[in-house]
Symmetry: C2
Subunit: 321 residues, 2 copies
């Protein structure tokens, strides 16, 4: 890692430029280097997280719709991305926002727990570098081959890298072939420890997965299409940390779930701040299920999703308690 041009001079340049507000040529003069070098160092400082530039995410949580969501579902904060073409590439807006919200939520010394999924990968990609101290990033559940850019473990590590944090991977697959093996593995000290550590986390980052032909669990072969259909008739509605949940947000009682190595739902709910991020509008039912299961306290999603959720909510519960 360590840059040849003694990390320290980069730091000094960044301090003079950003904190004292000198111009690049003044910094150059003071440090006896060329202005071009200053420009280079400053870029490195930004990339290394020595300098942190963050924009308040209030813009997205300040709307009335967001407030209504918070009230309706008892959430702490909700951030909504409108369809109003603010972003240069609409698809990237949710991950970008989520990355910013995440960084805003993580404090020094925190232990954070991340699940994986396409959305989480995108968030990791959009996340800028920060120079945190004493942060640990732990994986929330076992691993799986990924059809996307990162593998789950790489994803954890990538987030850890951006935060200058320690990354802790799960040394187990997500799904095993037999219940017995899963049970035995869960009792392995190294796995047990990680599972137990989850409830001690300060915050969590995760998505709810959908259950259709091209959802993650299917694509990487953890579940066959036939099995999926069978589970759906049993009430399968969404996926939380690999585990299948029903419409009321409880664990579906099935063989598949029993063969899984993942965070216990009570452990997840013991984490004080839990950020859920949903970008696809098709995840309406899964998200509803996740709300029913009180899986999260903070939410990043689209305005249209929020509108849909509220409409359905007030319809089913016309008089608020």
């Amino acid at each position: 890692m360590a840059y040849r041009p003694a990390e320290q001079i980069i730091h000094k340049a960044a301090w003079l430029y950003y904190t004292h507000g000198l111009r690049q040529d003044e910094v150059a003069q003071r440090l006896n280097i060329s202005r071009a070098s200053v420009a280079l160092y400053l870029r490195k400082a930004r990339e290394a997280g020595i300098v942190n530039i963050s924009t308040s995410t209030h813009l997205f949580s300040g709307e009335r719709l967001a407030r209504q969501m918070e009230d309706a579902f008892g959430l702490e904060t909700v951030w909504l991305v409108g369809e109003d073409a603010l972003s240069p590439s609409p698809a990237s807006e949710i991950p970008t926002l989520a990355a910013n919200v995440f960084l805003e939520m993580v404090e020094n010394g925190n232990q954070v727990c991340v699940a994986w999924g396409r959305t989480v990968y995108d968030i990791a990609d959009a996340m800028s570098y920060a120079d945190r101290e004493g942060v640990t990033v732990v994986e929330m559940c076992g691993n799986l081959g990924s059809p996307y850019a990162y593998r789950p473990d790489q994803c954890t590590m990538e987030i850890a890298r951006r935060l200058n944090a320690k990354g802790l991977n799960f040394y187990a697959p997500l799904v095993l072939s037999t219940e017995e093996l899963a049970r035995a593995l869960r009792e392995e000290p190294v796995i047990r420890e990680q599972l137990d550590g989850i409830s001690a986390c300060d915050m969590a980052l995760f998505t709810v997965g959908a259950l259709d032909a091209d959802s993650h669990v299917i694509k990487c072969g953890a579940l066959s299409l036939e099995e999926l259909e069978r589970l759906k008739t049993m009430g399968a509605t969404g996926v939380i940390a690999g585990q299948i949940i029903t419409a009321d947000g409880t664990l579906l009682d099935c063989d598949y779930n029993r063969r899984m190595i993942s965070a216990d739902f009570d452990a997840i709910r013991a984490i004080p701040r839990r950020l859920m991020v949903v970008q696809e509008d098709e995840k309406f039912e899964p998200l509803q299920a996740a709300i029913a299961g009180r899986f999260f306290t903070h939410l990043v999603t689209t305005s249209s999703m929020a509108t849909k959720l509220l409409k359905h909510h007030t319809a089913s519960e016309p008089t608020p308690a």
Copy 2:
């Protein structure tokens, strides 16, 4: 407050520019305004704390000398400013650094407690704007006329303003003319409440004051020169939150201290993170006293001060425990 050009467009411009990395002309195009406006909005966004640019203070805490200080005095983190002309104006380096460290230490939702003194004023001045949530800034002790730019209460309010926080002032003078009055006032509910609230703070920011002809307490007439001389013969060494301490860091048993409305030392020590900032090299003995009294856990000062403190420390205690 609220700017005419709907705060929101400033936010959007900042988001597109800083988070998405568009150029100003691209932002202008997307928002249908001139580039000049974008430049203007961006400045406002920075000034309003919508955008936060911070530089890691690691540069100042990374040296060996800082480590030695931490070890020698059991401090959590020590930041040192060298005499090596890094800063454009050496005198401003301590307050600037302290302001940055302070911002780094304050977390959303925190209650912070600030004392006052010239150094604290300078820190308030050097502090950049930030958009924190749920932060409360409370005054640590009663008020006094100030010979400097801000009055103590303004100073609290100024820091609160920069953090977008709520400021809570002490509605009492620092020193009263009689013990009885001080005692009575301390029992007033509104004062009692504030005094009790201090130990519930998450962090504190303060200085140690020196006791000489041009120190704060003298300049604003709280103490006469003769009285000061008398107290010095009794062991007066420094000032913490208005109160006079002896070389071993305990409250000097004197009339002056008894006439004071200020935070109880145990209440101060109950605050988990306490940042002490000392810029003047003449404050050697007062700082030593403050160390003896375990008043702080984090320290910002000069390298030369650190050297002096360490020399004296190892001299008096050659074998570490």
